[in-house]
């Protein structure tokens, strides 16, 4: 049976593991120095070499030629491990053997010494899938295992592994593999397999792999069987269902120029030709990313002769605008996942995007700067009205004083009187908040032994107090001690307006301010 590239070219030595030098070097040194931990945890994304490294490590530990950083791959032990039938290297699928019973069996077996090698090695792949009980059952063994035991855990989700397990392991974080490394590895395979491929096609595959070597090898494998003589960029796009680069340049220019009709037509054509709308959206986001990075001279695996195209495309856009479009599209991509009609959804968001008027942030700031001036004007206009019956004239304008004090300024009242009035309001508040609030609006002008005179600028307020006169008087007598009558008075609005207009003019002429006012 045919073996796929990813399995055929699985590294058999630490040095062959691509892009994980920080892990392999540490492991090699540990072996040559004989400082071997009893538990390792390999964490990292898919297809970067966790299981592979685990197998190499077990070979390195159990090789017949002694524990060595470079396993011979020839001795029986190495061979058995490679074929997966070594008695002392147990590769356990953590996802299918996830219960406490399996872990108990493992614990039982761990007591026995290895049959023919130095170490008994348990590789538990997908370890994050063990149940909570299983993890807990493992804790004691993991902390102090017999000296002949080595555990190697591999997982893509280290955050799902309990802290108590993590702290008992030596952890190695595997990284995504860089574009360059992927390209070089693919080149190596191409040479070995005698496959021909266009440079652009190779880069496209490497990019699509998104840091996972296994994905890249899988795609290469597929294309090697699909293409006849040489793998062309077009083949890659066909097999992977990707639209061409040019499409994205068109989309970009349509969006910037607000050509809604053109962009919708383009998208209808693309989706009808069988390209999935998710692929279009993802591709477009990636395209924008490339434009952004290339315009800042950052290498993203674009051939030199194409760079100019990208730089040109970025010339009309500031980084801010690109980022804003990308943010919008990323949001949309999230929603598209759950859409029943992704094609129509794509049309919708593109119509929205083209309808946006894309304004550089600098212009917006420029516009914003104008707004405070307008606001200022608005406030001044308001103040003129207000100052008709108050004395608010000053340069520069202080913040608007609250309404009540301004009105009270009319006749600075007796302090004691005001206190009484406020006391009254707060007493009444317990019974009726509305009434208390209306009371505050009134201004007590004078008080003698029989009566208290209050002025209201609003007839409605006066009437509503007058209705509750009995209640107010009752409370008042409680405060003052003797019975007082309340006399209401309407405020002499017109008069004060006149007065204030004259006063205002006087203040203007003398550029003075009011310190106190008699009467």
């Amino acid at each position: 049976m045919y073996t796929v590239f990813a399995r055929k070219y699985r590294p058999q030595n630490f040095d062959d593991v691509i892009g994980q030098e920080h892990c392999t070097t540490t492991l090699k040194n540990a072996i040559s120095k004989g400082t071997i931990a009893h538990a390792y945890l390999f964490a990292g994304p898919r297809g970067v070499g966790k299981t592979t490294t685990a197998r190499i490590l077990s070979k390195a530990l159990n090789c017949n030629s002694g524990s060595t950083p470079n396993p011979c791959n020839k001795c029986t032990n190495c061979k058995e491990i490679m074929q997966g039938n070594s008695l002392d290297v147990l590769e356990i699928d953590g996802a299918s053997n996830r219960g406490i019973d399996e872990v108990r069996t493992l614990r039982e077996n761990a007591r026995y010494v290895p049959s023919s090698s130095r170490y008994k090695i348990y590789i538990i792949d997908e370890v994050h899938m063990l149940t909570k009980e299983a993890f807990n059952a493992l804790l004691k063994t993991l902390e102090e295992p017999p000296s002949h035991i080595v555990f190697i855990f591999a997982t893509t989700h280290p955050q799902k592994v309990p802290q108590t397990i993590l702290s008992r392991c030596q952890r190695f974080n595997f990284r995504r593999i860089s574009l360059e490394d992927i390209i070089n590895t693919l080149k190596y395979i191409i040479e070995k397999e005698d496959v021909k491929i266009e440079g652009k096609a190779l880069i496209l595959i490497a990019k699509k792999a998104d840091g996972a070597l296994r994905d890249a090898e899988g795609m290469l494998d597929q294309l090697a069987s699909y293409s006849d003589a040489i793998i062309k960029e077009e083949d890659v796009r066909n097999v992977l269902g990707l639209p061409g680069e040019d499409v994205f340049f068109d989309m970009q220019s349509y969006i910037i120029n607000g050509k809604t009709k053109e962009i919708l037509t383009l998208i209808q054509q693309l989706t009808e030709s069988g390209i999935s709308s998710e692929e279009i959206l993802t591709g477009f986001i990636e395209h924008l990313r490339s434009v952004l990075l290339v315009s800042n001279n950052i290498n993203v695996g674009i051939l030199d002769e194409e760079k100019e195209k990208y730089t040109k495309a970025s010339s009309k856009l500031t980084a801010n605008v690109i980022l804003r479009i990308m943010r919008f599209l990323l949001e949309a991509k999230k929603e598209m996942r759950y859409s029943e009609n992704p094609d129509i959804y794509l049309l919708e968001i593109m119509a929205r995007l083209a309808a946006f008027k894309i304004v550089p942030i600098e212009d917006i700031i420029e516009n914003l700067k104008k707004i405070p001036i307008k606001l200022q004007k608005g406030r001044d206009a308001y103040k003129v009205k207000e100052s008709e019956d108050s004395y608010e004239v000053s340069q520069p304008p202080p913040p608007l004083p609250p309404q009540v004090p301004t009105k009270l300024k009319d006749t600075p009242p007796d302090k004691e009187l005001t206190n009484i009035w406020q006391q009254l309001a707060s007493d009444i508040e317990i019974e009726s908040k509305a009434l208390a609030h209306t009371l505050i609006l009134g201004k007590p002008i004078q008080m003698d032994e029989e009566s208290i005179t209050v002025m209201f600028s609003n007839e409605y307020h006066r009437n509503s107090i007058e209705e509750k006169k009995v209640l107010v008087e009752k409370h008042l007598s409680e405060i003052v001690g003797n019975k007082l009558k309340i006399i209401f008075k309407e405020s002499p609005v017109i008069e004060s307006k006149k007065e204030s207009a004259i006063l205002k003019k006087a203040l203007e002429i003398f550029s003075a301010e009011i310190i106190s006012k008699g009467g």
Partner: protein, 304 residues
Amino acid sequence: MSFNDIIGQDIAKEIIQKDIIKGRVASSYLFVGPNGVGKKLTAINLTKTLNCLKKMSEPCDDCVICKLIDKGHFPDLILISPNEKGNIKIDRIRELKQILSLRTTAKRVVIIDDAETMNDEAQNAFLKTLEEPPPDTTIILISSNLNYLFSTIISRCKIVKFGRLNISELEILLKKHGIKNHKLLANLSGGSIGKAVRLSESPVRKEAIKFAHFPVRKRLSVVRNLKDISIEEFLDSLYVLYGDVLVKHFGLKVRNTDIDLSDKELPLSLKGMDVIREAMLALKYNVNSENVLYRLSYKLPELI
């Protein structure tokens, strides 16, 4: 039934057939594409071709094995599909592993239909098998939605993309199955045969069109009549309709080819689509469906 009987999907068929000819059939495949475009059929054809006694790039359809497979009696074709609750659980995968641990003389093929319905445990339990299946075994995962599959599963398979059928291909197919209105249905479904068939049997689209054109008061009566209709499908039809209004404004191809849509300004269709999507989302979050529809009745701009 051979590869030629599968309508469209030229690239997918080419990939598979070339794999067979060149002897590069992988140990695990992932067939991705919308429902009802021929993924399972291709998988069965692959099984037939691999096992056919005549050993060509096409199944002969005549030998014992081909006939056995057609009848569903071939022991080395293992078909796993979701249970009545619509998911595939870890037990099924464990069972499968048990079967796979036995040797076989034929080219064994495992087809997992609707692979995205495997729950988390099942997917995880499958990883090791998927990466290194036993010899002479090919596992084919079939899925219409990759978002529910782990990236670790996807990365272990050779991915074959199945495009949607284009409208004319679907038309031919619908005609073959004797479905009336095949032209309209082909357009409406946007290339998915499953959707086309569902639409042919359901009055949902008519109700949606009525709903969109009615004023609020009359809309409520439509809502009350929706009892037998799935609300998701109702919203879907509405969404397609407002999408049509959007593209109609720019003179592009619409899906509801049989009705005369009046030309509306862009903001109306966009508002409509937004409101409908909001309703869909609310349903997903288990909001009372009646409330969702009432709210929609008030918010959706009229089409008249």
